[in-house]
């Protein structure tokens, strides 16, 4: 394995860690330098559209800052006065609705979100499920369950396999999202459908 290859794998680790897909171990943290961690945190924030004004450029910095100002969180009176101030401005008391939020996120954010769903879907179903004869796809390879090809020492072959898997994952994500969207018009379509049928029967 080349050096570059090793690094890439490490970063996958780190990315998974930030996305909450992997548990936090001292070992993993220790392996990474702070800059990479900060960058990944930022990417994650942007993808999830969580950083509207405050971009977190370096997570270690903000953690340190947060720790410094920790008492604020326990100071309930201050918090109350803040919310009261917001409420007083009138229009801002609808913060629960975020329709004023800019909707300029990257399309990739959605595919990432779907990716997560796919990951959950691939978890093996109960052993006694009646659908046992149905093959369950494993889109995110779990250690020890990946196909033998993945163990190939040939990087090219491995990459191709990986690319294909990603392609299929993307497609499944896209299909699920499309189904959700189409289902929204289903009810009104169906109503129009039955009404039209009733009309016909009348005539």
């Amino acid at each position: 394995m080349t050096k570059a290859h090793v690094n890439k794998l490490d970063n996958q680790h780190l990315s998974a860690l930030l996305d909450g897909e992997q548990s936090l171990t001292d070992e993993v943290i220790a392996q990474q330098d702070a800059a990479t961690l900060g960058r990944y945190a930022l990417i994650g924030d942007v993808m999830r559209a969580e950083s509207e004004d405050a971009f977190v450029f370096d997570i270690s910095d903000s953690v340190a800052k947060a720790l410094e100002s920790e008492p604020v969180y326990a100071d309930f009176t201050q918090k109350e006065s803040q919310t009261a101030a917001i409420a007083a401005t009138g229009t801002d008391n609808v913060v629960a609705f975020n329709w004023r939020k800019p909707v300029a996120q990257l399309a990739i954010a959605a595919s990432v979100a779907m990716f997560a769903i796919v990951g959950i879907q691939t978890l093996p179903q109960g052993e006694n499920s009646p659908n046992n004869e149905i093959p369950m796809l494993q889109t995110t390879p779990v250690t020890g369950m990946a196909s033998p090809v993945s163990y190939s020492s040939e990087p090219a072959l491995q990459n191709a396999e990986q690319g294909l898997r990603e392609l299929q994952q993307q497609r499944i994500g896209a299909l699920v999202l499309e189904h959700q969207r189409q289902a929204r018009v289903a009810y009104s379509l169906e109503k129009a459908h039955t009404e039209a049928q009733a009309e016909e029967e009348k005539n």
Partner: protein
């Protein structure tokens, strides 16, 4: 033996006068009425296998106008707003848009708040036991599929107010696949200020009614032969379009039996040898069928066996 014959005859006679006297149906109608006419603020969670989605659900009736807001609280979020017969969806990955429809397509099947009568051809409504849900006395109502190709849906309704407390997709083995549970509900006299604020907001104008365009679309584009679907499903729409996320072209079919929707996608096959198989999350199944020269994918809240049978029944046009 006599007892069995007696019970059998009861069962056989039941459908004859089920229409007016089915208490389960009456309860569901009462729930629909309560959901449409009360001012409430509720929170619920949807548990799908190992994942969980929390929602907040507000509803108000201001004069003759219904206001409703449903919001997914985790992750990038999803906001659904209804003012009478216009629903607007705010999604993180696209511009907000509105649809001319009088119910929100959320995690609760819309038909339950509407005319459940039309489900009775393919589903039975059965009264279940009583229990305690979310700290309230609850009555179980079971919507049971008449064949084994669909899931059953169980609802627990508040014995007092008839509002929904819990619901679940249940498979034929009686296992709950996807559960929805209210964690809190408060019914108020006055509509919530948040909802009244909606009246002062501008929303996108609804897309032109999809209903009008569907008949032409049916004939123009695709003519794949879909050999089998469980009885009761009818075609709502079919077209050819590009998927939002990966820009792939697909022939698309949307079917519904009034309760659940099924999407069928026919696409150019992906390269490489890929096995056919199913994925599931809660009640939602995705079945990907590699049929050689084309790929068929079926998505919907149906059992994997049904999705498989549908996908495999799709054939090339003659």
């Amino acid at each position: 033996m006599k007892v069995i014959t007696f019970i059998l005859s009861l069962v056989l006679m039941a459908p004859a006068f089920a229409n007016d006297e089915n208490p389960a149906k009456q309860l569901l109608l009462k729930m629909a009425d309560a959901v449409h006419n009360r001012n409430f603020d509720a929170s619920f969670v949807v548990v799908k296998g190992k994942s969980m989605e929390p929602y907040r659900w507000l509803h108000a009736k201001q004069g003759n106008t219904e206001l409703e807001h449903l919001s997914l609280l985790n992750g990038a979020g999803l906001e659904m707003v209804r003012i009478d017969s216009q629903v607007t969806y705010f999604e993180p990955q696209s511009e907000p848009y509105s649809i001319d429809t009088d119910s929100i397509a959320g995690p609760i099947p819309e038909v339950l708040f509407k005319d459940i009568e039309r489900l009775s051809q393919h589903y039975d409504f059965v009264l279940g036991g009583k229990g305690r849900i979310a700290g309230r006395a609850a009555q179980l109502v079971r919507i049971e599929s008449k064949d084994e190709y669909k899931f059953n849906y169980w609802l627990w309704l508040d014995a007092e107010s008839s509002l929904l407390l819990k619901s679940a997709y249940v498979n034929q083995a009686g296992e709950m696949l996807e559960q929805l549970q209210l964690t809190h509900i408060s019914v108020t006299e006055e509509p919530a200020a948040l909802l009244l604020e909606m009246l002062n907001r501008e929303f996108p104008t609804p897309l032109p009614a999809a209903a009008t365009s569907q008949s032409e679309a049916n004939t123009s584009s695709n003519n794949w032969q879909i050999g089998w679907l469980p009885s009761g499903f009818s075609l709502l729409k079919s077209d050819r379009h590009k998927l939002d996320l990966n820009n792939e072209l697909t022939d698309y079919y949307l079917y519904s039996d009034g309760f659940v929707e099924v999407s069928i996608f026919v696409q150019r096959p992906l390269p490489g040898r890929r096995p056919s198989g199913a994925l599931s999350s809660g009640a939602t199944t995705v079945y990907v069928h590699n049929s050689g020269s084309f790929d068929v994918s079926v998505v919907g809240n149906i059992p994997a066996t049904t999705a498989k049978a549908i996908a495999e029944s799709v054939a090339r046009p003659l």
